[in-house]
Amino acid sequence: MEASSAGRQDDPGQEGRGQQLAGLLAQVARGDHSAFEEVYDQLAGPVYGLVRKVLRDPAQSEEVAQEVMLDVWRTASRFDAGRGSAGAWVMTIAHRRAVDRVRTETAAAAREQKAAASPENGDNVAELVENALDQQRVRRCLDALTPLQAEAVTLAYYGGYTYPQVAELLGVALGTVKTRIRDGLIRMRDCMGVTR
């Protein structure tokens, strides 16, 4: 299964960018501040965007995004290119930190209140969207999923919900959500030509 998607890399630039980032991280691990500036410039937008998507609240998002970027500086020596791409490493830190914040009770309560007060926020962020190309590709691949797959993946990843919470929100069985998230991500992987 994994092998079949290997030949479908539809963005040859992706891999080059990834290797360049991995190289920068190695320099960061040796204390190179200018390499860190480059990493910042490449990843602060995605990190802030993802954290904001999950947390919604701009002030909290900025705080968490700062923590993530400082984590990158601090733990760069722990990045292992053999275990995944540099981008995925950073985005994993960002997502976990955001989700961690969501799942602490008080933050969750505040977030729910905010979401209730302004249901329109979040998706209509009137800020400059970067990476329009990436966004189009993700959108196209999300559209290719079944509605339930797309909702399950979106609620879990962008919503920061646990899969039992997703099951409750969608009113479907736990097992169904489990498989829909997996099937959905597998289809996204193949659609976007992720190679590993």
């Binding site: 995004a65 400082l70 601090r74 020596s77 722990r78 962020v125 800020e127 590709r137 919900y161 099937d183």
Partner: protein, 251 residues
Amino acid sequence: MRSQRPELHLLTGAYAADALAGAELGQFEKHLDLCPSCAEEVRGLRETAARLGIATSIVPPPAMRQQVLQAANRTRQLPPSDRRLLAVGAPRRRARLRRPLTAVAVTAMAAAIVVLAFLQTATQHRLQQVQSANQAIAAVLIAPDARIETHGTTVGGTVTAVVSARNHEAVITSARMPVPPASRVYQLWVMSASGTRSAGLMPAISAGAGSTAPVLTADVQPGDRLGITIEPAGGSARPTTAPIAVLSVYA
């Protein structure tokens, strides 16, 4: 299938999306160590999830750049890991970064950081989960509406649940229950009007005390019942034996 535990393999997606929590997360990470095909799949799905994340990119607040770069100037980096070295007791709530980052915050954070010898992100996450589980357990125990239910089990010993209906959470422990038969485990269930769902496995019984470490069960509603059954090692998707104990959750 490649895994002996097909139902665990299905969690690769939820794991890659950080949608697993509590006992199930620990179980799955243990399973990952034994299931190379699962690990490989997780890797691919993580890359995929990362693309979903990258696509959300927006321009960060301009002031953030200078704050982060200055904080980096004042922050000591972790040495490359001896992958065996894992410091425990890392504070989960680290000093929060204030805007603008103050020297105090950064110093506090740096101090906290020294304690942390991260392995890889997976282990870091597990650590954080353990700490957050402890915190969550404490939250139930001190909840103003916490109620304690203790029941004998049909195999001996007792099961105790501390339930906070307001938090929709229960903490479950046991005392003097016998070690389950070979290749069998105690599994927890939440039985509600809409059906029965697994709440994970009971932790192993510690030899000395004969008790189990507290586990947290989330999404418990008044009217639900908590059951324990004996299941084949690794647990079952549905209960396959009669419960040895059933506790009610009161409002």
